[in-house]
Symmetry: C2
Subunit: 390 residues, 2 copies
């Protein structure tokens, strides 16, 4: 639970309407084609007249459509409303160091066609802008629907104004990706940090709103994203979640950062893999007799224990029991989760944290979360669907 502490801005009647519009759209979205105006009025507490008015404006914006009502029970049959998925769509992209994965998603959060293209080696911003520009154009053209906005997940630290402050993976510092892109494309382009994107994606799979989730993103580095009570927490200098160089007391290896014992020395992807390849992780749950595989399994266990220690601390500090793991390590599967859970059990009473899990959308989670962020930015609404629908 949170408590707002200070009002900082005046409120005008216009804000009022905007908020209630969001509320109605959200209700339509969650209702998934089952809510009529009267239902929305009952569910939100808004007067029917107001709901009708707002729905009319949403239909004018091609965000909501009326379906044909099949009478059920007495009374005039209701006209069910659903989000208009025919006229507009969102684009989403996951910018990775060597490639871009992108796709189209409907306003209901259902993923349409997707694709990927390679980036040139050590891409500069201009390269990425060029690739994204043509890729997104092509996706939009193939889809046919108008584009409402695009969301792009980037492996970078972002300023509140959407500038890329730094990306270690892309070796960028202080560049503007969103600006040129939205100028070229003609619609809003929303950037999200990749770990945050995963968190947004998870949030959009929680059935109720205002939830909390911690995402651990394990790749070349270890990053995490924190959503507290439905709010993304970025920290005072947008550095929240930089947990790679925490010493949780499970290693005494020297880290390239100069200190020893950093989490990254045992739990980032290179540390886990050693000489092995990412594909080898698939077999790590039953390593058999192969000594290389057994060593890999050992390293996975060690990483799991370290991550377990981190999760413990996070859980004690924040009391968020939902922990999501994402990144290529997903391929290690249950073995990694088991190791984490084992460490949790050792350190905390069982009730405190649920077993961590991998991200719901797997390889698409960053992309999907970027779309969710774009949706939120554009319409002020987030999907809250069960995983099987999205």
């Amino acid at each position: 639970m949170t408590k707002a502490i200070r009002i900082t801005e005046k409120v005008t009647p216009g804000v009022l309407r905007e908020r209630n519009t969001r509320l109605v759209l959200q209700t339509v979205l969650i209702g998934d084609g089952s809510m009529s105006r009267a239902d929305i009025s009952r569910s939100t507490g808004l007067a029917r007249a107001v709901v009708s008015e707002i729905v009319e404006s949403l239909m004018a914006q091609h965000l909501v459509v009326e379906e044909v009502g099949t009478p059920s029970g007495r009374g005039k049959p209701a006209k069910p409303l659903r989000v208009d998925t025919d006229r507009q769509c969102l684009l989403m992209a996951d910018l990775r160091p060597t490639e871009v994965v992108a796709g189209v998603v409907g306003l209901d959060g259902v993923i349409g066609s997707t694709g990927r293209v390679d980036l040139p080696p050590n891409p500069g911003v201009d390269d990425v802008i060029r690739v994204l520009d043509s890729f997104l154009r092509q996706l939009a053209a193939d889809d046919g629907r108008a584009v409402l906005a695009a969301g792009v997940a980037v492996p970078a630290m972002l300023s509140p104004e959407q500038g890329i402050v730094e990306s270690i993976q892309l070796r960028w510092t202080d560049v503007d990706l969103a600006g040129p892109l939205q100028e070229a494309l003609g619609y809003d382009v929303v950037l999200v940090n990749d770990a945050t994107a995963v968190a947004m994606s998870e949030l959009s799979h929680q059935s109720q709103a205002g939830g909390s989730v911690i995402v651990l993103h394990i790749a070349g580095g270890i990053g995490s994203a924190i959503i507290l009570d439905g709010r993304v927490h970025l920290g005072e200098r947008q550095r929240a979640g930089e947990v790679g160089h925490i010493d949780v007391g499970v290693s005494d290896r020297r880290c390239k950062c100069g200190r020893t014992g950093c989490l990254e020395t045992v739990a980032n992807l290179p540390a886990i893999l050693g000489d092995a390849s990412v594909e080898d992780l698939d077999a790590v749950s039953s390593p058999g007799e192969d000594p290389a595989l057994r060593a890999l399994a050992e390293r996975v266990d060690h990483a799991g224990r370290s991550l377990g220690a981190l999760v413990c601390v996070q859980a004690a500090i924040l009391d968020i029991p939902d922990v999501v793991i994402d990144g290529p390590v997903r391929r290690a599967g249950a073995r990694l989760l088991d190791a984490i859970e084992q460490e949790l059990a050792r350190r905390l009473p069982a009730v405190d944290v649920r077993r961590p899990r991998f991200s719901t959308m797997a390889d698409q989670s960053k992309m999907h979360g970027a779309a969710a962020a774009a949706m939120l930015h554009e319409l002020g609404v987030l999907w809250h669907s069960s995983p099987d629908r999205a």
Copy 2:
């Protein structure tokens, strides 16, 4: 920075007025007798007509008064507004295991008379209700002003509905303190967890709003409170900040909880004191030759290093550089802070966390924070004063 993610409630014109009323009151409060209606209009962006109307209602509620305007410059002289400190006051109390400290505070956050009374040994809820009832009545009678509300800091875990779920220090489980008290006293009684109260107090000393702070409260146990972007974070089961049994890898002692290495085994008050008394901490900065004192100083250093490790992790996860220490250990003074800072320097690049500090209001911080919570609850406004004013 945070981003609200979902609208859950309808907004009505009444809410609008309430919010803007808060905004105006807040502005008057911060202005500290220097803001006129016109100033408020300019500062908030609200039309002068609206500000006048709201000010009128605030004056009718005896929350704001007009002062005599001294002309300065051209034009009709402005009538400065200030918070009305003559008609109403707040009561505040700090419930400790063996005593209650309480006092009166004006609507401007200025502390008036204070006092303390002993509690019977192992007090039950009824004892505490009796003591608080008569103590607060007496304070109010001596003060003469009407009581707007009372805030009570309690060493307990609270439910969102203000019930006391559990207090280890008071040996209470599932009791209702606020209900009977406010029924007896006739005004709202707001309970706050003691660590949270310290955090609220610190927040009310930050000059700008929406700040973040981490409070470590070190006494018999170790608790912490987290305020993120101006919101108290309590966690999914109101257990956020239960850091006493984290293993930060600086101890291998057995803890009474059954595990080993818990922070409490080296950093809670009993662990620090050993055979020494709280008063001995005063001398710990220059222990001299006394072997007992030198041993105590050693233990303070060890506790500091452990706390430093915790602060490191918290800082990495949350990126909140402002860390406040409260509790009897305050008497260890700079020696404790030095030890913490040393550990921080060892573990993190210098820039990441500021040197921790003790709570601004010292022994009064819990009480003061409780008052701040009551103020927030009652008027939706928090003081944001510089320390010397409050």
